[in-house]
Amino acid sequence: MSYYRPRTSAPPDDEAINPYGQVWLPIAAQIGIVLMIVIAIYLVFRFLTPTLPRTAIQVGDLILALTPFGLWLWFGVRRERLAVQPRTRLLMVAIVTALAANAIAFPLIERIYQVDRWLPLAPTLNRVLGYAFTIGVTQELIKYVVIRYAVWREHFRTRADAIAYGVASAVGYATVLNLQIALTGDANLDIVAIRIFDNLALNIAASILIAFGTAEMRFERPSPFLMPLMLALGAFLTGVVIPLRTGLTNSTFSAQTAINAPSLIFGTAVSLIVLVAIAFPMALLFATADRRQREAAARAP
């Protein structure tokens, strides 16, 4: 059920300027909450080392896998309905992306590209390029195609719509990834939590780049090569982050240490840094472009 202010009185000034839902704050809230959950679970498992029954672990993993989606539903979809002119296809974009990921991306990556067979042992440059052209391109192309055909033409009203739908697509893709982790194996909650954050952060960061491209394509007259470039950048970001994250966190071997385990929490830090490093400049770019567009509209007769 939606609630709207009556039109019998003049709308507040901010509403007149921005009748659409916010995009950056929900992203920040989502990421912030997931990060806090990750840190909390990590600290509990590191210092208290609880032993949970298998059923509890499985249920916990499932809940964690769906947490980003749930948070997005709350901060993204639900709050969107409070806007004056809400975005109506967020959920659809998320679901279609999730389905496309499961039906196209994963089989392509696992059975055709078979990344497990050749990338882990390859040199660093080959790993970057390999992940960029396999996982990166597949991931971003699917998101781009879903957005392009589902909402880009008639539902992009402002640049912020690109961000919102981009994030929806990212959340959908990441959720399928997270469900895969949760449903295979009996990983501990701290491991699952870390992986979930990593997937979410990387997907959102890459989606922001795609969103910039789709927004420019919709509202400006950019070079026709801009969108492929942004797609390539998003893919390259994936290609860099995956080896960087695993390389920084990979365990070493010491005969004096009884347990040689990777420091996955450092990967979380890497993912967070990458997301912030992408989000802030892109937010600035979006704001600049928006302001330029408003000024141009104001000058128009």
Binding site: S2, Y4, Q85, I112, Y113, Q114, R117, W118, L119, L121, A122, N126, L129, G130, F133, T134, V137, L141, Y144, R148, R153, E154, R157, M217, R218, R221, P222, S223, P224, F225, L226, M227, P228, L231, A232, A235
Partner: protein, 199 residues
């Protein structure tokens, strides 16, 4: 209450730029798939050369496999990164008399392997030409298990293919062994090895 959103009428027709941007993006996606497949193939199919002047053998084996020239066979390469049975290509040379036929050689191999390999069974035997040299291809299976009696290793069904070539007083046995479940998937590596093999 129904909300009526009034917007200025905008054309939903795509501009030329938008259209081409989209095409270029899709084209880039296709190119990326091709590049990815090429990267995969070049990495998986990358080879390293091996030369044994004394034995008169020149071969190219997969680059990520580990080579062992110190054992009973003059050349052995194994893919140590795979789980389960390590896919193996090896070359052995056996002295034979001039009157030993390929049939005799196969019988000797069968007798020896039946003594040492569990559930050894010959599947097929065909004659063909390898680089203009007459060769016999022998397909077989057996069950392999870890020799360490203290580890809980599950036995694995192995499928093998021998290429037998007799020349002078020698029998050259080129062997390919792989887990039966991944045999077809790994066979191209052996076929490329055979194509590059010179002796």
């Amino acid at each position: 209450m129904t909300i009526i959103e009034v917007r200025s009428a905008e054309s939903t027709e795509l501009t030329q730029r938008q259209r081409w941007s989209h095409y270029f993006t899709l084209f880039y996606g296709v190119i990326a798939v091709v590049i990815a497949l090429n990267l995969r193939d070049s990495t998986l199919n990358a080879t390293r050369s091996y030369v044994d002047i004394q034995a008169g053998i020149r071969a190219a084996y997969p680059q990520t496999w580990i080579i062992d020239t110190g054992g009973a066979s003059i050349f052995r390469a194994r893919d140590m990164a795979v789980a389960g049975f390590k896919t193996t290509i090896q070359i052995a040379i056996r002295p034979i008399s001039l009157s030993t036929s390929t049939r005799n050689l196969i019988d000797i191999l069968t007798l020896t392997r039946a003594q040492t390999l569990a559930a050894y069974r010959v599947l097929s035997q065909t004659t063909f030409f390898l680089n203009e040299v007459e060769a016999t291809e022998l397909e077989y299976t057996y069950v392999s298990s870890d020799d360490n009696p203290f580890l809980a290793a599950v036995p694995i069904v192995v499928r093998g293919r021998d290429i037998l070539i007799t020349r002078g007083g020698q029998a050259i046995i080129v062997t390919f062994l792989a887990d039966a479940n991944t045999y077809e998937q790994n066979l191209p590596s052996f076929q490329r090895f055979l194509a590059d093999l010179e002796f």
